[in-house]
Symmetry: C2
Subunit: 349 residues, 2 copies
């Protein structure tokens, strides 16, 4: 029986990682760039240009709080921001199914436009393909993006170096050291549950709206404060996958407190009905920051002054002695958070 591609291969967890390491890095490993593909970080940096791609196949196209157009712009803007880039321009490649209502395309493009304006980026190049009915389900978008180094990134690292050495000038998954504080910029799980409820598959209805939003302005504000060593958005595979990527690439463990993780009642209830963990659900408007402990409170208060990060919390810290994500539960126990194999809700981005 030949080996087949499964949904888990695209769901951002350990199965995706295995596929990527096996079939992609085996062929395209090339470590000479500032931030190479091999880093498997949020974006790459080539000749000083921050570069990132994302395809979006969210189903349905429209969901509470957003749609595929807004998602595509925010996803790429955020990934460029997460390594310390200032997003500059995006490409937009559309693959549509024959017979799609013209008005659906127009509605999606309106969302693209609004999200670009919010993020202050421009669509500068594009491609349009139409395939026969059934060739895709409605529409797939790809946004790639280019950015330059944030003008505040050097300042950020100067602050880091007041407290400890660091041997890179980009915000990388491999930069954590024991003691670094972990800050989450707000509620988790909203995006996945919003998309899920739009499907009406499980009789699930909720008033949860997606968090999909550009984070570049918020990121700029905290870089001006300084002291951040790593930043990442908890998309596919959610918060727990993100923290495991940090553990693995930085060689640390991470301890978090359940009581500190912002979680809406509606998300909690939906997760209980679906039997899934909110820590594994993809988000589209949140960042997780690793910060030198001396600057954590200052970064936190700056985040809380922003619209995007108003509900930020210090949720834990990096530790030595183990390589797992460990959670102190609300009832007082300690448990190892499992590494997700993939996102429990498919096709949310």
């Amino acid at each position: 029986m030949p080996k087949k591609i499964t949904i888990l291969h695209g769901a951002g967890g350990s199965e995706s990682q295995e596929l990527i390491k096996e079939v992609i890095l085996g062929r395209f490993s090339y470590k000479k760039f500032d931030v190479p593909l091999d880093a498997l970080d949020d974006a790459s940096v080539v000749n000083g240009i921050v570069f990132k791609t994302d395809s979006h196949a969210v189903y349905p196209l429209f969901f509470p709080g957003g749609d595929i157009g807004r998602l595509a712009v925010c996803g790429t803007v955020n990934d460029i921001s997460m390594v310390g880039g200032k997003p500059l321009a995006l490409s937009l490649a559309i693959v549509m199914e024959e017979g799609l209502d013209y008005s659906v395309l127009e509605k999606v493009l309106d969302s693209v436009k609004i999200a670009c304006d919010e993020a202050d980026v421009k669509i500068v190049t594009g491609d349009t393909k139409v395939v026969e009915h059934g060739g895709v389900k409605e529409m797939i978008l790809n946004t790639s993006g280019i950015g330059i180094r944030s003008p505040y990134l050097d300042h950020n690292f100067e602050i880091v170096e007041k407290f400890r050495n660091i041997n890179t000038r980009w915000l990388l998954d491999s930069n954590l050291q024991p003691g670094d504080k972990i800050i989450l910029s707000g509620y988790i799980g909203d995006h996945g549950i919003a998309v899920m409820s739009a499907r009406r598959q499980y009789g699930l209805s909720s008033d949860i709206v997606s968090d999909v939003q550009p984070l570049n302005h918020m990121v700029e504000k905290v870089l001006k404060v300084g002291g951040i060593v790593a930043m990442k958005d908890p998309t596919r595979g959610g918060l727990s996958n993100l923290l495991y990527e940090w553990c693995e690439k930085s060689g640390v463990g991470i301890e978090i407190e359940e009581s500190k993780i912002p979680l809406r009642e509606g998300v909690k209830a939906a997760c209980e009905i679906l039997g899934i963990s909110p820590l594994e659900i993809g988000n589209e408007g949140k960042a997780v920051l690793a910060v030198v402990p001396e600057m954590a409170e200052k970064v936190l208060s700056t985040l809380r002054e922003t619209k995007e990060g108003a509900y930020s919390q210090i949720i834990g810290e990096a530790v030595s002695g183990h390589d797992k994500v460990v959670m102190k539960t609300i009832v007082g126990g300690r448990r190892i958070v499992p590494r997700p194999r993939g996102d429990p809700i498919p096709r949310i981005c």
Copy 2:
């Protein structure tokens, strides 16, 4: 009855142009960049960075002379080259159908790797999504690419300026003047017919193989010669669509000679069976160059010394007095070449 998207909206001809002008430029017009989206040229230039995106939905994935992987790399490399960029790095975003054989993915990635090596570009960022069975047909790829200004582009324009004024430093569709010679770098129609024969739909079988190849090395060689004002690859909509884009954007007419256009017997025969024009079929390894007349022979002989351009021909010239593409036929008449509404063979790229 609401307006619907049709196959022609993605086929690169006048219908695509209308869609793009109406729904894209209406929203995303922004003329401040070196080569903006509004130019609707092969690639854009932003802060000195050449940037381009392409999604590929060719069906079937494998065809004589290439596959979707090779196509994706060459398409983006060539578009960056066509404005005078030196391609540097590509992104690769894969959307796959659940159940796809793992070996199909591996075969496509091998082709990506080989084409990248040929073109001397690197895959530096990527994305992998899996959708349910039927969500896409097998696989869609997006490659976006970044490039820098070719180191030979200034020299090229210095040579142009020996003979006439030109007010841009990029190779643009709007740069032609009456008298410029039109050079085609080889046989046309091969790619479309190769893909078509792989479908076995029309009982069409031929020994034609796709021309899909990276053109950046060939382009570099002719920029060293100099005198080129515009360059474009005749992909969707073929040679005739390309020439009409030049006419429209440069405000010229173009006269070509049918006897000069390299056309294989097998392509000619297939076109007769299918009732389509070889001038409208998409190519993936050819370039059309507009050159100041004084340099045309030198550019031609340099092209002919390359593997990619061995069968280059001067096929005509830009003229004043009308705004059409006019062809002197082999039998001696003159006819207006119609502007294609789209590519007559869908889903070849």
